[in-house]
């Protein structure tokens, strides 16, 4: 028997696994029981397996000039109860649909501005409001093909939206690869838990990209993934998605626009391209309209989109909708466009243009969280309660110089979950980025998402660019709902042969199971 959890102290925040010391929450009963069978050396062995699995796949990660290391996946999964997932899924879907409508509106009629639901100035002063995209009607009707909506869980266990990512949200490759690694490292856990699969994400994305191709593309549109190149920190993900979707991975120099039509240079001559899933930021995407010195973009792409000859995913200009000041209006958008109440709440946010609000917020400088409105990746964030005096002084100067450039938020404790640190399990703060895919008809939310963990004790910054780790995220299938399965993930070749009852419900033995061939081989090698 292991003692990994014996000294687990709740950190005062909502803990994902434990309702109170020694009292696992229901969805975690099976996992806790399993962890109790493991010793420290067992877990270290599994860590070595994990690192080997990632290295074999070439999934490494470099932090600030350090040497490449395996992507930091914590081996203790995060489990989302079916009921919580239902709320998240509906809330993310609702949010994406409202943001999609908002983007169509601000680059079109601007009704929400004329109706004074959102002030003009919030939109026209946003650094990511790209007038170059005004008047473009996307060929497939979609601007937000992929959204990553960052959620945190407050002290009461309620999920709240921290920010929306509608430009080039990244991290989904880690969702898929984390799962793959976990099924190799802990095959037995997947036998006892009916975890909803994530491996079909690339196929879902491809289907959405194809569905939103220009009508003239016909039944077999050509889709490409456009990357800035191998030196981009997310290049692994770009190549992963292209490979998994079975489409070409291209750089700007592989594409050429002529008369508002996009072509790909191939060894067999030029081939017309219908959909560009681009992972290049707007500012570098099309030097005709944006930075003329961009060497990674595709000149003419935006006019091709304007002409309706190509679908650009995600669409240019989406950043105005994930501006952190615009964020505070998303609940209003949901009411305005959908006539619904928001399913997921925002975090209490202060816009600082109003001098009274600014004064009040600055008076609580050391109590609030401060974020630059157009930042991403956790850069520039100042957490008041954690900041030193000189950092707060510098912050005050910067905020006063540009109040529109900042928001202040009430700090959220961020939930914790047991994370394997230096030989024992300790609480670490985490968030959740579910990925949504919009095909124009419906929004599909990949079950789970990327759980990011702040590895330093007490840290609230989960971004991988800031040294965060991740956890495999399990949505436990509702036993009453029809199972949707991806064969590559299941620990058995025939889904219907599986006992779908999650262990914790009856705590019964999951029964005999057939493991797929590759996992058997893995186990034999031990």
């Amino acid at each position: 028997m292991g003692d990994l959890l014996d000294r687990y102290d709740l950190a005062g925040a909502f803990d994902e696994m434990f309702a109170a010391a020694g009292e696992p929450r229901t969805p975690y009963l099976g996992l806790v029981a399993h962890l109790e069978t493991l010793s420290r050396s067992d877990l270290d062995d599994r860590c070595a397996m994990r690192d080997r699995a990632f290295r074999d796949q070439g999934i490494t990660f470099a932090l600030g000039g350090e040497e490449e290391r395996p992507f930091p996946l914590d081996l203790v999964p995060r489990i989302l109860a079916a009921r919580d997932w239902t709320t998240i899924e509906a809330g993310v879907r609702q949010r994406v649909l409202a943001l999609e409508r908002f983007l169509a509106d601000v680059y079109g009629e601007r009704a929400i501005l004329h109706d004074r639901v959102i002030p003009h100035r919030m939109v026209v002063t946003s650094a990511h409001f790209h007038r170059e995209a005004a008047g473009i009607v996307p060929a497939g009707g979609v601007r937000v093909h992929v959204a990553g909506v960052d959620l945190v869980r407050d002290r009461d266990g309620r999920f709240r939206v921290l920010e929306d990512n509608l430009r080039c949200p990244s991290g989904v490759s880690y969702v898929v690869e984390n799962r793959r690694a976990m099924t190799r490292v802990f095959p037995e856990m997947f036998q006892s838990h009916h975890v909803r699969p994530v491996a079909d994400y690339p196929m879902r994305l491809l289907a959405a990209l194809r569905a939103t191709a220009p009508p003239a593309a016909g039944n077999n549109p050509t889709v490409v993934v456009l990357t800035p190149g191998v030196y981009n920190s997310a290049y692994f993900e770009h190549s992963f998605l292209a490979r998994q979707m079975g489409v070409e991975l291209v750089e700007g120099r592989d594409l050429v626009c002529r008369d508002q039509v996009v072509f790909m240079r191939t060894t067999n001559g030029e081939q017309r391209v219908d959909v560009v899933y681009r992972r290049i930021d707007d500012e570098f995407l099309d030097p005709v309209h944006f930075r003329p010195d961009s060497m990674v973009g595709c000149p003419g792409l935006l006019n091709a989109a304007r002409a309706g000859n190509v679908t650009v995913a995600n669409m240019v200009g989406n950043g105005v909708a994930d501006d952190k000041a615009i964020y505070s209006y998303v609940p209003d958008m949901i009411e305005y466009y959908l006539g619904e109440r928001p399913i997921l709440d925002n975090v209490q946010t202060y816009l600082l243009e109003d001098p009274d609000v600014l004064a009040h917020a600055l008076a609580r400088l050391d109590q609030l969280v401060w974020k630059p409105v157009d930042g991403s990746g956790g850069y520039g964030i100042v957490i008041g309660p954690r900041a030193r005096d000189h950092e707060l002084d510098a912050l005050r100067t910067r905020v006063l110089a540009d109040p529109r450039g900042w928001i202040a938020q009430e700090p959220i404790a961020l939930s914790t979950a047991p994370t394997y640190i230096d030989g024992s399990l300790a609480p670490r703060h985490l968030d959740l980025r579910p990925f949504a895919v919009h095909d124009g008809e419906s929004v599909w939310v990949a079950p789970g998402g990327l759980t990011r963990v702040a590895l330093p004790e007490g840290s609230l910054i989960v971004n991988s660019s800031q040294g965060g780790g991740s956890k495999d995220t399990w949505v436990i299938a509702d036993p009453l709902a029809p199972a949707s399965v991806a064969p590559s993930e299941l620990p058995a070749p025939a889904p219907e042969a599986i006992d779908c009852t999650p262990l914790e419900r009856g705590r019964q033995d999951p029964g005999p199971l057939v493991a797929p061939l590759d996992q058997q081989q893995q186990q034999q090698q031990q």
């Binding site: 007038r131 005709v288 000149p299 003419g300 002409a307």
Partner: protein
Amino acid sequence: MRLAITHVTGYEYEGEVVASYNLARLTPRSVGGQLVLDHRIVVDPGVATFPSIDYWGTVVHAFDVHVPHRRLEVTGRSDVVTADAVGPPADAPGFDVLERDDVVDQFAELLAPSSMTAADEVVAALAGELRAGQSPVETVERVIEWVRDHVGYERGVTSVATPATGVLAARRGVCQDFAHLTVALLRAARVPARYVSGYLYPLTDGEVGVSLDGESHAWVDAWAGGWWSVDPTSGETAGDRHVRVAHGRDYQDVAPLAGIYHGAPSKSLMVHVDLTRLT
């Protein structure tokens, strides 16, 4: 006044150019009393153009050239009946109205500094001085008067990239510089303002049928309860000698020809505007 306008612009290169992508804003629209009877745009080497309307309501022709060329020439020909001068709005409101929340919000992007009209402390202080005790209309008049009194018209001192603060420092410039400095001062004085690009017929009593060398010209729209077009280079309300093509926050929103290309460096930019009075 009815004018025939021929605007020829383009580049000569030191060698061959093979891939060139461009946006041309050379097309007047029928707006605000101006009537466009005919317009066409021709590119040499011959290519098709793709027209669209941009955020500011300007017609943009996009085109790309893939045949090797050493010279790119774009010609816009227009037949336009110009609008008569309209002075400042009657019963123009005071700053109490211009500084009302809803008005400030509606004109937010025309009150905020843009890259070429950013205000430094000198511009802000000057704007405050010119505005003190004045109505918005009087503020516009004083700003124009100040710019004309203190900035000399001189070619070759400034470039297409000179911002308003640079004009104020140099105290010299051309119509683009007069317009940028005026816009910067008006915005700093909390009067919504935009940069206008177009053409100016050079004579007040030109002869019908005689073509004259003209210029690509720039002036300013100021909002003082209604839009008022004023020409800081001449100091007059823009009128029937002005042909409006585009407006925006500054030159960058209205550049008549902008583009990128692969190939030899550009040797020279040609601009020639020919204006003929038809009535």
